[in-house]
Amino acid sequence: MKTDQQIAPPDSSPRADLEFDVEKVREDFPILKQKIYGKPLVYLDNAATAQKPQVVIDTIRHYYMTDNANIHRGVHGLSQRATEAYEQARVKVQRFIHAAESREIIFVRSATEAINLVAQTYGRRHVQAGDEVIVSAMEHHSNIVPWQMLCEEKGATLRVIPMNDDGELLLDEFEKLLNPRTRLVAAVHISNALGTINPIQEIIERAHQKDIPVLVDGAQAAPHFEVDVQALDCDFYAVTGHKLYGPTGVGILYGKADLLDSMPPYQGGGEMIRSVTFEKTTYNVLPNKFEAGTPNIVGGIGMGTAVDYVSEIGWKNIAAQEKDLLLYATQQLSSISGLRIIGTAKEKASILSFVIEGVHAHDVGTILDQEGIAVRTGHHCAQPVMDRFQIPATARASFAFYNTRGEIDVLVQGIQRVIEVFK
């Protein structure tokens, strides 16, 4: 393939300044070994879902082969084992995000469900006609639509924290939005479309000064750095398992115990009750009050293994590797003429959205796919972000700690190929 002189020489050799060996880490992820159209898979769609390490796959297999039973109700041995594994996973996640107690960890099916849970329980109780809910301009649809639905039902108003052209929230404007009718602030920790790391601590502090609780959408943040919900002092924090190297179909809602206690249940059914008669039902204590029905047991256990795995890799290593990848990719992509990076905040996670002049993102995605490169293309479930930048869609490369500089070189060559086709 003809290439351009802008392409840097491949460099996938282990780097001396990193403490961990990326090639060794890649061995943990069986899916990465495959070829797509005869070319090595270059998986750069980690913000959509991360790949699963062997230990997570083994956990799921082991559970179904040896421990499978329903939890919290059987006196038999299997049920006890399953219950113990599930509750251990809850404790693992609790420690992972530094929650004070394990009953503050509610297993849900996704970050989306975590947000909907808060909107439908806390929100419906506290938001009334004339009240306001604040979200940011860079929310994923999952942190817009549940609040819109709530506001519509109650006759409340949704307010939006604006951002600048770099994709940074305007905190002074945020301050102006806070008023006595504000009932909740819901903001994303890391933007999935732009990669911006928001100053979430400051947002929480400013809201708390006016006694307004804050929900943080941490779906993108939890895989990239250590989240400490107590240090943040956030009231709610939503995490999904599958972006965190765990299975799909499981996530958690963290909530402060007193808040969760005061909230009405989300769904009715088994597990969430203490006693039921046709006259009256009393509800179970936390966390079971919010976990009606048989949960995704193996999902929860798999998520527990995943957070253990991430902790073993170590935040220092993850930060070093991902920062290197982001810097290298930003530098390489910036040098391509006609390419514009969308999202140029000072504080960014390893997510790189871009557009190529005269080429629609879907055509970029199709051509990169033919080179074995998986990127996300489209509006990333963040249409207001696309509108803000007046673009229909972007291509997005998002990096995990198992990605390499060599893969970024392949991406750059792929982009050159796109430009060649459309020149």
């Binding site: 159209y37 005869g38 005269g358 080429v359 629609h360 993102a361 879907h362 055509d363 199709t366 051509i367 033919q370 293309t377 489209g378 509006h379 249409q383 696309m386 229909p392 869609a393 086709v421 459309f422």
Partner: protein, 151 residues
């Protein structure tokens, strides 16, 4: 040339790239008596088709919108092809085009310039890009009030 590169070249034929960069009939049509909007919620492609229909013949046709190379070229070539065609011919071309891009054996030789879209069948996720404007045309012909969608 490797297979995947040849597939890619089949998809992005010269004619398609030309119509993407210089779309024909890309404008609103003030004298249109039929109009419909199409939307692909998965990728955000939007298209509006304007149609001037008289005595069951397409007297004029145009489009506006934003989309990828495939959807833009499909719209451009559709408008070019359908001018002067009667409704029976339009229907035949629509079916032929749909079969062609879904690999159901549409007869490329009967399709004129539209035959350049034969490569789309190798890319199942891109079929909707090619058919959006045709679905929108159907909506315009039926004067459906709801926007056409690929879903």
């Amino acid at each position: 040339m490797s297979d995947e590169l040849s597939h890619l070249n089949d998809l992005y034929e010269e004619v398609i790239l030309d119509h993407c960069k210089n779309p024909r009939n890309f404008k609103a049509l003030p004298e249109a008596n039929r109009k419909a909007e199409g939307y692909n919620p998965l990728c955000g492609d939007k298209v509006t088709v304007y149609l001037k229909l008289k005595d069951e013949v397409v007297q004029d046709i145009s489009f506006e919108g934003i989309g990828c190379a495939i959807s833009t070229a499909a719209a451009s070539l559709m408008t070019e092809t359908l001018k002067g065609k009667n409704l029976t011919e339009v229907e035949t071309l629509f079916r032929g085009f749909r079969d062609l891009v879904t690999g159901k054996g549409g007869e490329a030789s009967q399709m004129g310039k539209l035959a350049v879209f034969h490569g789309v069948s190798e890319f199942p996720v891109r079929v909707k890009c090619a058919t959006l404007v045709w679905h929108t045309l159907q909506a315009a012909l039926k004067q459906t009030q709801e926007p056409a969608t690929t879903e």
